[in-house]
């Protein structure tokens, strides 16, 4: 599939998601001390960007997305002073987070932002992208659930975000549903459409075991930024595992600037022990990838299943059928209740 020659010597910017996407896998319960510990280790290993917020980003503390023990500002204020080289980034989903919250994150030291929207709704990010550029932040347009738009559609949406000021456009496989050739089609379409100086990123989920392969496919098609997570700590079956990805890159001659052994130690000694459940391709996580459902729905569906008696897999398949997208976590309990009524499990 990959031409080793086309990858050799390529430089890739690693963006770590352990302390943001990983929050989902921890039901948003990572304390400040642990955040600082992980962030410090990532920084020491040469990871250039690391994201630090509630799993749903700025404005994420809510009934809908769960409450973290600390505010985003508290996390950033604790982490940023400990970073020697790395830049801290935040996630901002318009409709949930606001520019006021972005200003506060900036004041706490955040210098990069994933400005995220569903892959067909880029025009809801205009004011936020423009604002973050005005602040001088490294700004990515983050097209979530990218399997739900065609390569041409992704290119069109990416162009919009580029026109608002984004310096990087991400193909975000929130459901872990894309196959390598589908990643390549989307990244390739973006590369053709965007200005040469605009970077392209890929954010994968490992629900079908393709985190590494899809990231390599993305690089081959022109991506220069890859989102990863230590030990894969992230929603669903997790993100592209950082230490594995860096090892593969070294073998293939792709430059990441990261220290592999330090990353192995971080995963083994700090991140694995902090997991509440083993982040892996279990039955329900695989269903996410297979049915194209937002990875964050996983633990919500398991909870709704425990409440209503409807199997989590059935709930997830139904959510996929109803075309629910990221941010519609309220529809999980709603859907489970409706299914339970239909099945005579509740009144």
């Amino acid at each position: 599939m990959f031409d080793p020659q086309s990858l050799k010597g390529r430089k890739v910017i690693i963006h770590d998601m352990t302390l943001r996407d990983g929050m989902h896998a921890k039901r948003e319960q990572i304390g400040v001390e642990l955040m600082v510990k992980v962030a410090t280790a990532l920084d020491a290993a040469g990871v250039p960007y690391l994201q630090v917020t509630h799993g749903a980003g700025l404005g994420g503390n809510s009934e809908q997305h769960g409450r973290a023990p600390h505010s985003n500002e508290e996390y950033l204020r604790a982490v940023v002073p400990n970073l020697k080289r790395a830049k801290a980034s935040v996630l901002l989903i318009p409709g949930l987070g606001t520019m006021q919250e972005l200003d506060r994150a900036y004041d706490c030291g955040a210098r990069s932002v994933h400005c995220a929207t569903h892959c067909t709704e880029a025009d809801t990010t205009r004011q936020h992208i423009a604002h973050s550029r005005k602040l001088g932040m490294d700004t990515s347009g983050f097209l979530m659930m990218a399997h739900l738009n065609s390569p041409a559609g992704i290119a069109e949406q990416g162009k919009l975000m580029e026109s608002y000021g984004a310096n990087t456009i991400y193909v975000t496989d929130s459901a872990g549903a894309l196959l390598p050739h589908e990643v390549q089609a989307r990244i390739g379409a973006l590369r053709d459409a965007l200005l040469p100086e605009t970077e392209i990123g890929f954010h994968g989920h490992h629900n079908m075991g393709l985190g590494i392969a899809n990231s390599l496919a993305a690089i081959e098609s022109g991506a220069g930024r890859i989102d990863v997570s230590s030990a894969g700590l992230g929603a669903g079956a997790g993100n592209t595992p950082l230490e594995v990805f860096v090892a593969v890159c070294e073998r293939m001659g792709i430059e990441t600037g990261c220290d592999l052994f330090l990353l192995m130690d971080l995963a083994e000694d700090i991140v694995w022990p902090m997991m509440d459940h083993m982040v892996r391709v279990d039955r329900d996580a695989l269903t996410l990838g297979f049915a194209g459902v937002y990875s964050t729905f996983l633990l919500h569906a398991k909870r709704a299943s425990a409440k209503t008696g409807v199997p989590a897999r059935d709930i997830l398949v139904e959510l996929g059928r109803k075309k629910m997208i990221g941010g519609q976590e309220d529809m999980i309990e709603d859907t489970a209740l409706t299914m339970a009524k239909e099945r005579g499990l509740i009144q």
């Binding site: 809510s62 569903h118 025009d123 997208i325 409706t338």
Partner: protein, 304 residues
């Protein structure tokens, strides 16, 4: 029976849908529509339906207000021009119903606080946002029984029903709606979340309301209060429906709603737009009934 004559400012989806709502009213009559684009579909339709139209903006209407006896105006343009529009029509004694997020006048959710506004003869009332109209009655249904420390709402809107104005200004939607959950809904803190879903066929507007009560929720009374309030909203939005809940989880009350529109100018899935035009119409009717009964009299607002 005579009707109160109305002007519609803005010829987009909302303004055009309002024509249908007002034509059905027993006390309101749409007489003018104001646009800025002579080629707009809304203006053409308004003309076809017998309204007078101008594409010269608000200034194209002003000379005819007195002669045509316009007493109520609806502004469905944008927050940026609303204050100016309002000042100009208020100066001629015309009551302004504001459907933009400008919110310079008091916030209005008909079954919650409309009567207070008519009694005070407010000359500008704001309709908050679609999500506000859909969810605040539920927050109030809980807060009128026991104190609510926090209310959070999630509005899921079909992509096709969200116009360029809202898309370009999602933060305004968030701020306006969050504030109204407190001011009108009666919660101490408020948070509003909007999701735009592009599914085809388009999904009908959904809303979820979470309330955190200070004391343990009084389930039986809350269920009764919620059902009573739903019946109130259904009087002007028949497609307002409880899908699931109230679900009680500790001190959290969850209410899952669906809002289907009437399908006038806008398709049924666009319940978010329909609940705005229906609520605005309901608000205008309440003022109109008072005007017709002679209990209130609109007066020109002096410009300072």
């Amino acid at each position: 029976m005579s009707k109160i004559k109305c002007a519609l400012i803005g010829s987009g989806n909302i303004g055009t849908d309002l024509i249908y709502k007002l034509r059905r009213s027993e006390v309101l009559e749409p007489v003018w529509m104001v646009g800025i684009d002579p080629a707009s579909e809304g203006l053409a339709l308004a003309k076809e339906l017998g309204l007078k139209v101008t594409s010269d903006g608000i200034d194209g209407l002003l000379p005819y207000i007195a002669a045509d006896d316009i007493q109520i105006a609806f502004d469905a343009t944008s927050a940026y021009v609303h204050a100016e529009n309002s000042r100009k029509v208020n100066a001629q004694g015309v009551l302004m119903i504001d459907l933009t997020p400008a919110a310079i006048g008091p916030l209005c959710v008909p079954p919650v606080n409309l009567r207070g506004h008519t009694a005070k003869l407010e000359m500008n009332v704001n309709m908050i946002s679609c999500a506000g109209q859909a969810t605040i009655p539920m927050v109030y249904a809980v807060s009128r029984l026991q104190s609510v420390s926090y209310a959070e709402i999630i509005a899921s809107l079909s992509s096709k029903s969200v116009g360029p104005g809202t898309r370009a200004n999602l933060d305004e939607f968030t701020y306006t709606t969050s504030n109204a959950l407190k001011v009108v809904g009666g919660a101490r803190e408020g948070k509003a979340i909007a999701i735009i879903n592009p599914a085809e066929p388009p999904m009908i507007m959904r809303n979820t309301v979470y309330c955190r009560t200070d004391e343990a929720p009084r389930a039986k009374e809350i269920i009764e209060s919620v059902h009573d309030m739903i019946a109130q909203v259904q009087k002007y939005v028949p497609g307002y429906k409880l899908v699931n809940g109230p679900v009680f989880d500790g001190n959290r009350v969850a209410i899952y709603l669906e809002v289907a529109g009437l399908g006038d100018y806008l398709p049924r899935y666009a319940g978010n737009l329909d609940i705005m035009t229906a609520a605005a119409t309901r608000t205008a009717e309440m003022f109109a009934e008072e005007i017709l009964a002679g209990t209130i009299q609109l007066k020109p607002v002096k410009v300072a």
